[in-house]
């Protein structure tokens, strides 16, 4: 008899738990909100890149937007390539990416309406080790020259290899240098995000192309040193890309426009200009002139 009582009690507990858990789906614990359109709040999807998200910039920007307009944003961070595919499918309402050529293609094909570049950081070409620079790229006068030196020296190089904006930029540079690195034994394709790729480069003493924001935030744990920077071609420009509601199904156009306007507004610019100063001593992103 005791066993049955025990069993019934357990079953009753499970049933109560399930009711509670199911009910909790709509509950709102403090400092955390579950998007629920039935309540009248709208939710939009912002497709963006890991290099923006991993720095924490969106955590600084988006709550200000939600506070102002009540619209909740789901930032989904993937590579620029994937973000643009999401836009084409209609799975994103707005894009924040850094792949100007691909962005223009999207607009030319009619999926994008327009792009507004608004901030930058600079790409750096880095090598592991303090003064050690086997390919002597620090002396290069141009980015493509640095890449050519790496190829000529057969110095190990790690690529993100994930169709991200960074990867696209890297491929452009190889093309400009007249080198086809794929299948070369010194060329390592990682298929991971920027921070992880930096770690790989660090462990294996490789050259790597990185954006300054991620590098700055990772610097402390790395022995890699910034060896080449400054070439205009290495400019990494982030844009807000508005999608075309005529071609992208199910778009929340109005809310997306509000987010786009906010990101380009004075309030957001101030947040971006200050972002990173307290943690790293220098801002991670630089604003473009309006």
């Amino acid at each position: 008899m005791n066993e049955y009582a025990g069993k019934t009690a357990t079953l009753a507990l499970l049933v109560c738990l399930s009711v509670v858990l199911a009910a909790c789906d709509n509950a709102q614990p403090p400092a955390k909100a579950t998007p629920n359109e039935a309540n009248g709040t709208e939710t939009i999807i912002l497709a963006t890149t890991t290099s923006v998200n991993d720095t924490g910039l969106l955590d600084a920007l988006l709550p200000a937007f939600t506070k102002k307009t009540g619209i909740k944003v789901k930032p989904i961070s993937v590579g620029s390539g994937e973000a643009m595919r999401m836009g084409k499918r209609g799975d994103a309402d707005l894009l924040l990416v850094h792949s100007p050529k691909a962005e223009q293609e999207l607009i030319d094909k009619g999926f994008g309406l327009n792009r507004t570049p608004f901030m930058r950081n600079s790409f750096l070409v880095l090598v592991a080790g303090p003064a050690d620079d086997p390919a002597k790229i620090a002396a290069a006068k141009e980015a493509k020259e640095a890449f050519k030196k790496i190829a000529d020296a057969k110095a190990p190089f790690v690529s993100r290899s994930d169709n991200s904006g960074t990867h696209m930029k890297e491929l452009e540079l190889w093309k400009a240098a007249g080198v086809e690195p794929r299948d070369a034994e010194w060329y390592i394709e990682s298929g991971t995000g920027m921070a992880e790729t930096l770690r790989i480069a660090n462990e294996k003493d490789c050259y790597v192309l990185t954006d300054s924001a991620t590098f700055t935030s990772q610097k402390d744990g790395l022995q890699l040193v910034a060896l080449y920077k400054g070439d205009k071609v290495l400019d990494n420009i982030y844009s807000v890309l508005r999608l075309n509601p005529a071609k992208c199904p199910n778009m929340k156009t109005d809310a997306a426009n509000q987010l786009a306007e906010f990101i380009l507004s004075g309030e957001a610019r101030q947040i971006i200009a200050d972002f990173g100063k307290d943690k790293y001593g220098e801002p991670l992103f630089e604003l473009l002139e309006k």
């Binding site: 199911a22 400092a31 955390k32 909100a33 209609g90 992880e196």
Partner: protein
């Protein structure tokens, strides 16, 4: 080594400080995994028992599929669920993508074969003579079913524990269908990935320790239940 000890300490601090963000992540983990576990247990255990105890055409095939399903890659499940729940997908109108509900769905699909296949295996271990005896004593089919389930409860609990292990440690599917959104669909496993990606290894380890603590707690309860039953058998 020092890093790990530092992380263990950080884990304790993280929980003790009751930082709303960490508590939120913990709560999201608990409720999505808990709900998924409940669903697969309530559906999978009786279903597995029924499959084990009956004979029908295709039974062997079903068992084969269930066993194979135990090795189903969670990240593949995540991709397929995504493709269904995208706005452009067949179930897009439900607007479930990037919500905890989608995560529960993915976790249920991952854990369902585990709990069902192991339940089948647990029931199959029953002594056939016991079944004969029960029938001989005049038990109805339903009564035989209940008695068999009771007899095999140790194995069935193991099935539930295995399913829980699969659910709580899952990261690929929940990241894809949930989007790892701060304050909404971020769970312990996906937070560990994020912190690792950002290079905050100690925080990642600390979150891992919290996750293990949670797992330990749940399994302690289930194991106590299992061992108590074993003693009585």
């Amino acid at each position: 080594m020092g890093s790990i000890i530092k992380s263990a300490w950080q884990a304790i601090l993280l929980v003790a400080s009751c930082s709303p963000e960490v508590l939120g992540i913990l709560w999201t983990s608990v409720r999505t995994s808990g709900l998924a576990l409940l669903i697969v247990t309530v559906v999978g255990v009786p279903l597995g028992a029924a499959i084990a105890m009956s004979r029908f055409t295709g039974r062997r095939l079903i068992i084969l599929l269930l066993n194979t399903g135990m090795g189903l890659p969670p990240v593949l499940v995540g991709l397929v669920v995504c493709m269904f729940l995208w706005r452009s997908g067949p179930l897009g109108f439900l607007n479930l993508l990037y919500t905890p509900a989608a995560m529960v769905i993915a976790q249920v699909i991952v854990a369902f074969p585990i709990v069902t296949a192991l339940s089948v295996a647990a029931i199959q271990r029953i002594d056939p003579n016991l079944l004969l005896q029960t029938r001989a004593l005049g038990a109805s089919r339903r009564q035989t079913f209940m008695i068999t389930v009771r007899e095999c409860r140790v194995g069935l609990l193991a099935a539930v524990m295995a399913a829980f292990g699969g659910i709580i440690s899952e990261v690929g599917a929940v990241m894809m269908v949930g989007g790892n959104i701060k304050g909404q669909t971020r769970v312990l496993t996906s937070s560990i990935v994020l912190e690792t990606r950002m290079g905050n290894f100690e925080t990642a380890l600390a979150l891992g320790i919290i996750l293990l603590g949670l797992s330990l707690g749940v399994n302690a309860c289930l194991t106590v239940l299992q061992l108590r039953n074993q003693a009585r058998q």
